[in-house]
Amino acid sequence: MTTSAPARRTAARIPVRLDRRYLPVLGTFVVLALMLVVGGTRYDNFLTPAVVSNLFINNAHLVVLAVGMTFVILTGGIDLSVGAVLALSTVVTAALLQAGWPVPVVLPLAVGVGTVIGLAHGVMIHLFQVQPFVATLAGMFFARGLCFLIAPESIAIGDPAFVELASWVQIAGQWRMTSSVLIAAIVLGVAFLALHFTRFGRTVYAIGGGEQSALLMGLPVARTTVLAYVVSGTCAGLGGLLFAMYSRSGYSLTGVAMELDAIAAVVIGGTLLTGGTGFVLGSVLGVLVLGLIQTVITFEGTLSSWWTRIVIGVLLLVFVLLQRVLSLRRT
């Protein structure tokens, strides 16, 4: 309080100033930087290209899920199905490849599964005014059940074309990445442009700020709401594909509770759960924070991996409290 009062006073006078809406994202960024610094000083080999690359590689699918989730949460909704849809996508990919379908056909089908489920959510939520929580909960059960119907056991992926696709990509010199990371980066880039520079993005924020007022401003609320769930579903389908590349298998129990990780990443990234404010880049920072916690705990060695969950829980609380404080100040 003592530092913020004078800071605010000067801020009001300077025309170009730090928007308070960026504060949560900045907070996430600071946490991320702190973790890197602490990790780097505490452990050898922490700040090596291999570790950093792995951070991205291990979390590429979660980045894509969190990006899709950001659209939905910005409209004031939620999508609980993404973990199950991701699993369904891995299973569809593995099963079709096992059946000998060619890769160029399998890839769009795996992503398309997510798109269709997302569309179904959007229609239920907008046309029939079903609560997003309930509609996507139903979608979650549906997708998870379908997984087991298709493949009760894990299916390994041996298709050479697919394996080739999932392998390393040279970026610069010694630095390599998997193609899944590149795909995630492209998804992020497209989402960033769509949210911040297009009419569609504006409408997403406007719906989160108040659906009634958005309607009376003549904005295409119906189309945009449905589209937000389509985006999230498609991202989940794509996330499944990335996860199948990463794990080289399709398994029905993949991604249990992963939707909660995605939601946590979005919230830690500074997006308000009630919608209307937030940044897709923040969501990615959120994913990286989650991933880094995991890395730190691995480096620590003696700690149970369940500490990851505890730390995530604490962080989530801190960030939600921070948002509360900020929005209380606003009124």
Binding site: F197, T198, R202, Y205, G209, L215, L216, G218, L219
Partner: protein, 522 residues
């Protein structure tokens, strides 16, 4: 205190309340005599509600400076419960009732009538509630859920709840803001009755006529300071004079002319609607607007006067892209050509703009900045290949900030932080950017303080001077008479009259507004 039975029930001395960065109240003094109705007046943001929150313990003792003396004893309320225990009960502007609980349950919420074992004694609860309802003149069963009641009746339940707590000092924050005239009258009558029973009332209100009618004394608060307290009996001869006296205190200057002058030069007819009929969205068969016909010409301000529930907003919103109602029939013409208003975007394209009576819910995205609120309705004009031209957007916002005189350090400020008047200017900017032919303004000055009202009227004048057609809906007849050229009266969904303003009187309009048309031979 020297005397044992002080005539003052309450004395607040030197109250100062500071929020981070803002001094909301500064050395405020308020003395309330036993058994009087004491009005508190001031512009929005003057500190009235803050003062009442200090008094009722919402802001606990220690979070403010100064003393509260109740019945000659210094009071130190830590919570609302403390103040209620001393008979001080506040009824907030936003009613705090639980919609799905019954009237009786709401009245005794937190104060349940219990049996020996601890369970709720329903017989006693309902019987006592019935007695309380009778006292406030509400003819409803105690078991009726709150959600089945209108705002007026809910207000009465709040008052019944207050009496159940043995209230001695009743504080009402804008009690009649959401009520129609009949309900307001009833409420004011009730306050008078309480006065006879020895209950003191403090009332915050913007309705000056009401205060002139009912209050014994008035305290003016301006910019967080108590300016003066005066006896209503000596404040002026007529209600009009008393109101002017209050306004003078509130704005700190004489406001001779509450409405800016305008020369009327109506031109060609712009908007005409014929046989406009709207049914209630959820109650099939209930007609809310019945075969309405009206016209608005270019350069003309046309008013719609009607009591609450007459169908004013329903008429406007159904016209604006069928945002309200179902089975809408009738024709709308702009410049003599029939137009399609089946959806909000279609209505906007046709050149219609609608400024809602509920700015916060329907007019603005409160958590977004001024710039993006202004561009929201006309975003298509700023979009190239799906991408929004942000430089142009900023330029547009800056232009409107200047032309509409929106008081803000910059256009990146969140709209939720602006005052009501500035918010309304943002809404108007948003619609002007869509270049409408017709502006429908629904209660354009609701919740806006006196100074900003004048600015809004000036903007309306500029609009009609530029050849726009303006349709204004208002509950305040003086406002309609002050700014309109013509007024239609609406009663029970039907247009009951059309009056030219020079020949109109409040009494005449009110007669038309309450005129029940004989039921048509359906």
């Amino acid at each position: 205190m020297a005397d044992s039975a002080p005539t003052d029930i309450l004395e607040m001395r030197g109250i100062t309340k500071t929020f981070p960065g803002v001094k909301a109240l500064q050395d405020v003094n308020l003395t309330v005599r036993r058994g009087e109705i004491h009005a508190i007046c001031g512009e929005n943001g003057a500190g009235k509600s803050t003062l009442m929150k200090v008094l009722s313990g919402v802001y606990p003792y220690g979070s403010y400076e100064g003393d509260i003396v109740l019945d000659g004893e210094t009071a130190q309320f830590g919570t609302i419960n403390d103040s209620e225990a001393r008979g001080v009960v506040i009824i907030h502007q936003e009613l705090a009732l639980v919609p799905y609980l019954s009237i009786a349950e709401n009245i005794f919420l937190g104060n349940e009538r219990r049996r020996a074992g601890g369970g709720i004694d329903w017989n006693r609860t309902n019987a006592e509630a019935a007695a309380l309802l009778q006292r406030v003149g509400l003819n409803e069963q105690p078991t009726t859920p709150i959600s089945a009641l209108g705002v007026g009746k809910q207000q009465l339940v709040e008052i019944a709840k207050a009496i159940s707590k043995d209230v001695r000092l009743l504080i009402l924050d804008e009690p009649t803001a959401a009520l129609n005239d009949t309900d307001s009258e009833h409420l004011l009558g009730l306050l008078r009755q309480f006065k006879g029973q020895g209950i003191t009332s403090i009332m915050i209100s913007h309705k000056l006529a009401e205060i002139a009618e009912i209050a014994d004394r008035t305290t003016i608060i301006r910019d967080g300071r108590s300016i003066e307290t005066f006896d209503m009996a000596t404040a002026g001869e007529s209600s009009e004079a008393v109101q002017n006296r209050i306004i003078r205190g509130m704005v700190g200057r004489d406001l001779d002319n509450r409405y800016p002058d305008r020369e009327s030069h109506p031109g060609e007819e712009v908007l005409r609607i014929e046989d406009w009929t709207v049914y209630h969205p959820t109650q099939p068969g209930r007609v809310v607007v019945d075969k309405a016909n009206l016209t608005v010409r270019a350069g003309e301000v046309v008013g719609i006067a009607g009591l609450m529930g007459a169908g004013r907003t329903e008429l406007a919103m159904s016209l604006f892209g069928r945002s309200y109602g179902r089975d809408i029939s009738g024709r709308a013409y702009l410049h003599g050509k029939e137009v399609d208003v089946h959806s909000v975007p279609a209505a906007i394209r046709s050149g219609i703009a609608y400024v809602s009576e509920d700015r916060k819910q329907y007019g603005l995205n409160l958590i977004e900045d001024i710039r993006r609120n202004i561009s929201a309705a006309g975003l298509g004009k700023l979009t190239r290949n799906g991408f929004v031209d942000e430089n142009e957007e900023l330029k547009v916002a800056e232009e409107y900030r200047d032309s509409m005189n929106i008081r803000t350090p910059n256009v990146l400020v969140e709209v939720g932080k602006l005052s009501g008047g500035n918010q309304q200017k943002v809404v108007l900017s948003k619609w002007l950017y869509t270049a409408p032919e017709v502006l429908i303004l629904d209660e354009p000055t609701r919740g806006i303080d006196v100074g900003a009202k004048y600015e809004i009227y000036t903007i309306i004048n500029e609009l009609v001077a530029a050849g726009k057609a303006v349709l204004v809906i208002s509950s305040e007849l003086p406002e309609l008479l002050g700014i309109c050229d013509r007024i239609y009266t609406l009663a029970f969904g039907r247009i009951t009259g059309e009056v030219d303003v020079p020949s109109a009187t409040q009494e005449g309009l009110m007669a038309l507004m309450t005129q029940e048309t004989q039921e048509a031979t359906a």
